[in-house]
Amino acid sequence: MRTPAHHKTVPHALGVFGIYLLGLCLLLFSTLVDAQEKQPKELPTVQMMNPAAEFWRDVRQRSAPVSGKTQVGGVETGVLINATGDRWRQFRMSQLIPISGYILGGMVILLVAFYAIRGRVPIEGGMSEHKLPRYTGYERMIHWFMASIFIFLAVTGLILLFGRPLLIPVLGKEGFSILASASKEGHNLMGPLFLLALVMIIIQFVRRNIYQKGDLSWLIRGGGIIGKKHVPSNFFNMGEKTMFWLLVFVGGLIGVSGLILVFPVLGLGREIMALAHVGHAIGAILMITVIIGHIYIGTVGMEGAIEGMKTGYCDLNWAKEHHDLWASKAEENGEALSNQEVAKMRGDRGSVPPVHSGLQESGK
């Protein structure tokens, strides 16, 4: 497993984090598997000073949940005892909460350390006099739409996950309950919008995120961390593409499992609900971790990275350094505009903005 430390100026930090995360995930899963092996079907430590204890013990020792008939309607009312919930409890209490705490905390610490060591990745050639149109208004809109919803969901989700150990001591039970209730309602409400945003993102960006020939070499060279040379990359590099697909699949998983959790009326049993919760939680932690890295690069990690999303235009030099294949083609096509033109287009100096439609359709 590669470690991202001690390397010289390499621009593609994103890729680094992607790889790092993959490793972490593997680690996480292995601990899960480990944990499960270590705890062979251990049932709740429900101590029953009850004559029924023996009967219940007998019932529990059967492999499948004992199910019978009942006149009471509802979900799983016929199930006498279902100890699978206990595995879920173990997962949530002794794995999910601590491990994801370590992961998220670790990610932040790692980034801080990385920043301390490497500092901001500059545009080597400095800012050029020209810019390339990178994202259309619509693209930026759905990105920020997704981003705002994601952050809202992440924050509310994390409140629910870590609130009991972290926030109850601060806010008290009553206070935290208010926050948690609001978080839950907000989370449930915004959840479906995440799926909407996801669909919009997929439709808009999928073509540019199909893996291409050069991507393998990008991977081999760790997104440029290894070696000095720039790694050739198209509109999106391998790391970005990976993040896109993570978003598609993991985000999809989060969305679907979230829908299951938000619709208890569907009458799904607790096992499915618990499973959905596990998927939702793991997926969410994974995505949050990745997105922290994404945000890092976009903000403090790399010079010029956020420009495209902010303004729609990126610096020509930045483009050449990070997305050379796309940049050179775009330049050949004469898409490069001078900074002044861009400023005019964006109306930065109060000039009349021109109509710009379809101009920036790019990536091909």
């Binding site: 029953m48 008939k69 009471v72 100890a83 949530r92 209490m93 009991r164 039970k173 309950s177 839950k184």
Partner: protein, 209 residues
């Protein structure tokens, strides 16, 4: 310290559902929410047994462990209760509870879960005993009146027992001794039930076979 427990004697439970309706009666639980239910295993087959199940008031309650807002508490009588003011209706306790005790009123057609509702051992909730709030949110508080849960008190065959674990154990032990002693005293056991695969009673096919 008293430690309140339920015990349902499967040898006596006849699935009459008195406990279910008694609970509804006492606590005015709405349609669709059942704090107690009777489960029959091997329904219709020899060895059929029924059990009345509700919250078991576990000593180390899984629901309490997983609750993200920590709304559960255990009373001095060992009754596991929760605070509906704190509950956010996330449903985690439902996943964790092996007995399916937590219930959720479905809140409208879009069904965000409402606040969790479960057997309180007829011990109300955190509000002041017998206050209107307590009754509205949790139902009766019989324990504070020196009474036991109505489900057990009304059980048709006294299969469902409720009370201090020690007392229950005594009652149950006595019952077991009775069962055993009767066998000893009379020298025979009739437990050789002559159950058999059902003989064919169907008219047509029976004469054909």
């Amino acid at each position: 310290m008293a430690r309140m427990k339920f015990y349902c004697d499967p040898e006596r439970c006849i699935e009459c559902n008195a406990c279910v309706t008694a609970c509804k009666n006492e606590n005015e639980v709405p349609w669709g929410v059942n704090r107690r239910r009777v489960v029959t295993i091997k329904d219709g087959d020899p060895g059929e047994r029924s059990l009345s199940v509700a919250c078991m008031h576990c000593s180390d309650a899984p629901c309490a462990t997983v609750c993200p807002v920590d709304c559960f508490y255990t009373t001095q009588d060992g009754v596991v209760l929760h605070d509906k003011d704190i509950c956010i209706g996330c449903g985690y306790c439902f996943y964790a509870c092996p007995f399916g005790a937590p219930q959720f009123p479905e809140d409208g057609a879009f069904a965000t879960r409402g606040k969790m509702d479960k057997c309180t051992f007829c011990a109300g909730g955190p509000e002041a005993d017998h206050s209107a709030d307590e009754h509205r949110k949790y139902g009766s508080n019989r324990l504070a009146e020196g009474k036991l849960p109505l489900c057990a008190e009304m059980c048709s065959t006294k299969a469902l027992l409720a009370g201090d674990a020690d007392v229950i154990s005594d009652v149950y032990r006595k019952r077991i001794i009775n069962r055993g002693a009767a066998v000893l005293a009379r020298g025979v056991s009739f437990q050789d039930a002559s159950f058999r695969a059902p003989s064919n009673l169907g008219g047509k096919s029976s004469s054909q076979e």
